[in-house]
Amino acid sequence: MASIAETNRISKAPPGPLREFWHYFRENHGAVAGLAVVLVLVFLAAFADVVAPHSPFEQYRDAFLQPPVWQEGGSLEFFLGTDATGRDILSRIIHGSRLSLLIGCIAVTLSLSVGIALGLLAAFFRTAADALIMRLMDVILAVPSLLLALVIVAILGPGLVNAMIAVAVVYVPHYVRLARASAMTELSKDYVTASRVSGAGLFRLMLITVLPNCMPPLIVQATLGFSSAVLDAAALGFLGVGAQPPTPEWGAMLADAREFILRAWWVVTFPGLAILITVLAFNLMGDGLRDALDPKLKRS
């Protein structure tokens, strides 16, 4: 009896959107692995003070350039070794995850919100505003992203916050184009006309009627944009115009380590590996999100 009742309950209610999403997302093993790594990173970032064995700034004067534990001369105290000023590399990497996630979050939030606002404006007012916004985006896209970010940082001055702003500006056009294209598709549909006819105001149409239906591609782009933001911010740090030493930012750590590459491989290897793993995790997750949220692929 119980099993029949169970079947009835399931057949009556279609799976909720979240459950349906998880059903498709779960099929992509890479995406699940990416999600797991991201969760670990979030955990490390949140509890860096507890998890990290040392302070990221403490210099151990009797342990300059000590190799990782499995190599001769290494010790368990400094699991991944120490850098040229005797700081524990593992602790610096753990603390660095905070910065990278923060950079990603802020840069993506900034460019996503500006992108959505401009994209919706362009789609709703297909006149001078549209032309102006889209030409402006063309201009931004004409300059290679890292060069534009460098130029913006040159104007604002070096530093972590300015690097985030620069990275955010550089990626705005992608969101504008996506938001505009999906909003334009939605605008031609009947439910929007119905809403308009029944007297919905402009803001209601924009934000409550149209925007939620434009979100799936934007969410995918935001996830992939997160990895680009982490990568570009690290590149700025590496070039010396992003996070400034002694901040344990992964790109800046690599810049510090450059002169030791032929003497101490671990100083260079681990911060870069951290960048790669983070970026890869977000890219895997973005791919999975695209598969799960794209209705065209769902049916096949």
Binding site: D138, L239, I261, T269
Partner: protein, 345 residues
């Protein structure tokens, strides 16, 4: 009604695409113009440097350089100069920025051409094979690797390549374009050609060994992108009716894949390859800095750190122009090989 001829259609298509570029280029000039005025310190202070200057002389110089006029007059002045190829002079070397760019550009061109060739030669076959052998171990492995390549921080990748190939194996030099022992007369600016033209023995080999690591580092992301795009284009085409027809009439698989599928799959791939130019130029900034490669990427980074802003301004303009031109060419090529685009309004 008579249909317009193919030539007229083509011309209209080309002109409309070029027309779209004009506002974009003007926008870039506005950015470049504003850049110098937005960086901390006014242009006179930048020119004089740290020494300081008395206010009278400052005002005189401002007037002398026309910097006291309204900004729109200055902008049109700037635009006029740009259109005549005058991008101002570098503060550090006092050379015209345009000439400096031209002098350094061949190094970046050489690096980028080799990076892109590496990317296409490796990425394309991998993508085709992965698409044809969908779901196999090869497909999964190559796609995992290419996603890794796509996520690679290339400044780190370059350092790893140096550690392994220059440090451990001692196969390649750490940096530069050629061994300091050689003096090669710059003829084309492309080191490989110049070394062949010169009679210095071993110079060519030295130039090649200097080129390999930076080209691999720079070409890694484009390679990954090309492999992924080729695979998905192949998958799409292999599902098409004409491929099924070709198979059904008994053509050998190699012919179906090579002739029917590949030719159509390559259309979107060509676009993707073209779009890598922006990626290459951005990557050149990092790669050239790490390998001390004397091209425009390193020049731009150096100029920013030396606060040589006229050089940055000119470089910004020229690179944007370059990217726009290549995108235009790709766009036109795409129209040429895909008639559906050409005829669409």
């Amino acid at each position: 009604m008579r249909r317009p001829g193919l030539g007229r259609l083509m011309l209209r298509f080309v002109l409309s695409r070029i027309g779209l570029l004009v506002p974009t280029f003007l926008g870039v000039t506005v950015i470049a113009f504003s850049f110098i005025r937005l960086v901390p310190g006014d242009p006179i202070e930048l020119l004089i440097g740290e020494r300081g200057i008395d206010p009278e002389r400052h005002a005189y110089l401002l007037r002398e350089m026309g910097l006291d006029r309204p900004w729109y007059v200055q902008y049109f002045d700037f635009l006029g100069n740009v259109l005549q190829g005058d991008l101002g002079r570098s503060i550090v070397t006092k050379q015209p920025v345009f000439l400096e760019f031209l002098e350094l550009f061949p190094a970046t061109l050489e690096l980028s051409v080799f990076a892109l060739s590496f990317a296409v030669l490796i990425g394309l076959p991998i993508g085709i094979l992965a698409g044809v052998k969908r779901g196999t171990v090869f497909d999964h492995t190559s796609m995992t690797l290419s996603l890794t390549g796509f996520s690679m921080p290339i400044f780190w990748w370059a350092l790893l390549l140096i550690i392994f190939f220059s440090g451990v194996l001692k196969w390649t030099p750490v940096s530069g374009r050629i061994d300091v022992l050689f003096y090669v007369e710059p003829v084309t600016g492309l080191m490989l050609i110049d070394t062949l033209l010169s009679d210095e023995e071993g110079a060519f080999r030295s130039a090649v060994s200097h080129l390999i690591l930076p080209a691999v580092a720079l070409g890694t992301i484009p390679m990954a992108v090309i492999a992924r795009q080729t695979r998905s284009a192949m998958l799409e085409v292999l599902n098409e009716d004409y491929v099924r027809t070709a198979r059904a009439k008994g053509l050998p698989p190699a012919r179906v894949i090579g002739l029917h599928a590949l030719r159509n799959a390559l259309i979107p791939v060509v676009t993707v390859i073209g779009l890598q130019v922006g990626v290459l130029l951005a990557g050149a900034i990092l790669t050239e800095t790490i390998f001390a490669w004397p091209g425009i990427g390193k020049w731009l980074v150096d100029s920013i750190s030396r606060r040589d802003y006229p050089s940055v301004q000119g470089g910004l303009l020229l690179i944007a122009l370059l990217v726009m031109t290549v995108n235009l060419i790709v766009d036109l090529l795409y129209g040429l090989i895909n008639p559906r685009i050409r005829h669409a309004r």
